[in-house]
Amino acid sequence: METQEFKPRILVFSTDKISDPGIDQAGLRKIHYSPSVYTISIPCSSGIKPRWILHAFEQGFDGVFIAADGTECSYSSKCSEHTNSIIVEAQKIMKERNINTKRIRMAAICSVCAEPFVNHISTFSKILQDLGSIKNEIAEHKAPSLS
């Protein structure tokens, strides 16, 4: 069982032109957030493959946060739709594996969104704290195949 001190590990997918500068700005202005947040930057959130998300859970990340460009995306006006369908796809697989689908979250983070980013992360951390460690879910799922 998890103790009070469980600090959820969060993988952030962030876009290099729009949300990265926002996340960088949080650092620049020393607006602190949990140090168990790791960011991978990509060109566009519509290019995230569901298998990367699943891989993160398998490796022990408790949550995946997608910092999207929303309507600001410079590649596609349908970016939010694309990203949404990727999340839906990933959640289908998560369900198959008994991983709680609340472990994925998306929000638009713009290039000056330092505070919103930190707020999103702390809300998400709280949700994940309630859900507990991913290990419980993956272990639960794993149990039958071991027997």
């Binding site: 140090p35 290019g47 493959k49 569901p50 990367w52």
Partner: protein
């Protein structure tokens, strides 16, 4: 290892988890890792010395160093030397955000004869030491994960060649308003042929219709005539009026613009396109502030015509105009509507019109019903001047806009004056002028679909990044200038189109150009030409091609923008973006999770200050320990400490303040000269 790794492929029915079978590459074997102190910006919080020692033990890492300033000339030279001496095949630099120095370190690689794409930047400053300066030990653990991820990623890095293509030294400029015309002149002067394509019968766009212009006092028509005269003298500029852009094909360096001019169809071959199509004025809706319901409500553009064409007396519809109410922000700053933005130039334009009225006619009263006055920069002088002339300014708010009604043949305005306790004022005027904002042109959809320029939520064309990559669009070779990108005044419009002109010239100048090879590629073995990727690609970059007796997808590397949208839709996982491959991303995730064997006790000896005071400075910046030792049994001022430790006094001040807050030090009164505070260790 992950519990699911072993049976990953059998667990799910979903094809989205298919493993890629080809794209195999040789892993990098001789990696150099450089971890930057950044003066103290990183090393004050992250124990970079310990990290570089730990990283040195990693597989495939040949060199691991912590350096004071990675970007300094001397460190760059050392890196070049290391790459050569140690025959490094990849490097990782853990320092600031990649936005700052990616090019610096790519160039280091190039100078050392290493492929620039065999380098990975790891952000341990903005996303680690600064973000977690409150938890130095955790920051160190995170930095370890970040660097591990960088090493993992660089192992899979491929030597990539920039895509080289030949470029036509010709530019298509769409829209011959002031922005397009002015840019055409510069482009031609820099040795490019320019096709200036205008839809209307005349050049000059909105400026030609504008009458007297603010700040310079010139007439818009005169400015355009002068510019047009110059254009006609330049043989490298071909002007087409009454011309319609029908179709665009090709890509950067080699676009074909199909243009019809009256009955003639032309094909123009250009290396780049500059879009300067301009804007439309917002058209007030019927009934908006009485527009169209009362004859005495007109737009600022109509009013300007009236000023220009009236002599001696200002007369509208046969009535002498003695009072004018200007209503600002019409069609702009709509918190609920479509146009959320400020149109930038209308405050100045309206005040300027009011000044023109005063100059030309006497005895006309002016009421300005505004939300905020945005006569920024030198335009503020217009506002000062108008206030001096006795114009009355009344502030209203969006939630309680002024009402315009016709009562007993009079045009009556009722407005709450927000600067006088929201007192309701009611008065009649001879004319109401709606200060309308700027909106995207009605035909901008047509242009954006032909050139595939993305638009923002405000429906104007989108730059890649307003600060870092202005005037560039994600479509390589397509640039935007002037108001098609968003509201601007004339000066700003011309500035942006000239910026675009010089950008275009840099890419076309050499006659050949290099593109970053960060594009999609297809796995010929597994692709089944299901067309899913082509269907989502908004850049027409994917076309079928025959390969080994079957059809497969092929990516046009000069039109592909590397967005990656095609990746997740492929049922057989056969398409990926270079540098963002499954191997690279998934190995980064593994790297984050690598268990850090960080020694949190390593410095405990040093932390015990010699006099026996047990101060636990574990996990705090090294400089704290230095300050604490210096203050052992002594009281010192900041300048004394600065001299003793060789640390700048403002850095010390900052640390002492924090140390004071954490109860490590405390002030100990003034020094002898009563010039500085002294500090001592807190018992």
């Amino acid at each position: 290892m992950s519990p699911l790794n072993d049976d990953k492929d059998s667990i799910t029915s979903s094809f989205y988890l298919t493993k890629q079978t080809s794209f195999r590459i040789a892993m990098k074997q001789r990696i150099g890792v450089y971890i930057c102190h950044c003066g103290g910006n990183i090393s004050d919080y992250v124990d970079v010395e310990q990290l570089s020692k730990l990283i040195a033990n990693e597989d495939n890492v040949v060199i691991s160093k912590d350096v004071m300033f990675a970007c300094s000339d001397s460190t760059q030279k050392d890196m070049v030397q290391d790459i050569n001496d140690q025959k490094l095949d990849a490097i990782v630099v853990a320092s600031c955000t990649p936005k700052l120095h990616t090019h610096t370190f790519r160039n280091v690689a190039i100078r050392a004869g290493l492929n620039p794409y065999n380098y990975t930047q790891v952000n341990v400053r903005e996303q680690c030491s600064w973000a977690h300066s409150d938890k130095p030990m955790d920051a160190t653990i995170k930095a370890y994960g970040l660097i591990r991820a960088g090493i993992n990623r660089v192992k899979y890095s491929e030597a990539l060649e920039n895509i080289e293509i030949t470029a036509q030294k010709a530019v298509g400029v769409i829209g011959a308003g002031i922005s397009g015309m002015r840019a055409a002149v510069d482009l031609a002067r820099m040795g490019n042929h320019v096709y200036l394509i205008e839809k209307e019968a005349n050049v000059g766009g909105r400026v030609a219709e504008s009458g007297k212009l603010f700040m310079t006092g010139e007439n818009g028509k005169d400015v355009i005539d002068r510019l047009y005269k110059r254009i006609k003298e330049i043989p490298e500029i071909t002007v087409f009026t009454n011309a319609n852009l029908d179709k665009v094909s090709g890509s950067i360096g080699d676009f074909t613009l199909e243009v019809s001019v009256k009955d003639e169809a032309l094909k123009l071959n250009v290396g780049a396109v500059l879009v300067t199509t301009g804007f439309d004025f917002y058209q007030p809706k019927e009934g908006e502030y009485g527009y169209k319901l009362s004859d005495n409500v007109i737009t600022l553009q109509q009013f300007n015509k009236l000023i220009e064409t009236s002599n001696d007396k200002l007369v509208y519809n046969g009535n002498a105009i003695k009072s004018v109410a200007y209503i600002y922000c019409v069609g702009s700053r709509q918190s609920k509507g479509e146009n959320k933005y400020c149109s930038r130039q209308c405050c100045s334009a309206a005040i300027h019109s009011s000044l023109n009225v005063h100059e030309k006619f006497s005895g006309v009263k002016a009421f300005h019903l505004y939300r905020d006055i945005r006569t920024y920069g030198k335009q503020e002088l217009l506002y000062t001047e108008s206030s001096r002339k006795g114009d009355i300014y009344i502030k209203y708010e969006e939630k309680e806009p002024p009402a315009v009604e016709v009562k007993n043949n009079k045009t009556v305005i009722t407005v709450k004056d927000y600067l006088t306790y929201k007192k309701e004022l009611s008065f009649d005027v001879d004319l109401v002028v709606l200060v309308t904002g700027m909106v995207p042109r009605s035909d901008s959809n047509d242009i954006s679909s032909k050139l595939k320029i993305p638009t923002g939520s405000d429906r104007f064309f989108n730059e890649i990044h307003p600060k870092l990559k202005p005037v560039e669009t994600v479509i390589k070779g397509v640039y935007i200038g002037g108001t098609c990108q968003g509201p601007k005044n004339i000066t700003e419009s011309v500035q942006s189109s000239l910026a675009a002109a010089s950008k275009i010239n840099t890419i076309l100048r050499k006659g050949t150009l290099e593109l970053e090879p960060i594009v999609a590629r297809v796995n010929a073995e597994t692709c089944l030409w299901c067309e899913k990727c082509a269907a989502v690609c908004e850049y027409d970059a994917i076309k079928p091609i025959e390969s080994n007796g079957k059809m497969i997808a092929q990516v046009n590397t000069s039109t592909c923008v590397g967005c990656g949208i095609c990746g997740p839709v492929c049922p057989s996982n056969s398409i990926e973006i270079v540098q963002f491959t499954d191997n690279e991303i998934e190995s980064m995730i593994d790297g984050f999770m690598e268990k850090a064997e960080i020694n949190t006790k390593q410095d405990s000896q040093e932390n015990e200050i010699s006099s026996g005071k047990q101060i636990k400075l574990n996990g705090f910046p090294k400089i704290w320990r230095e300050i604490a030792s210096a203050l052992d049994d002594k009281t010192l001022t900041i300048p004394q400490l600065s001299e003793q430790l060789g640390v700048e006094s403002n850095v010390l001040t900052w640390h002492l303040m924090t140390m004071n807050r954490y109860g490590v030090v405390e002030p100990a009164g003034l020094d002898e000269d009563e010039a500085y505070y002294m500090y001592k260790l807190k018992k």
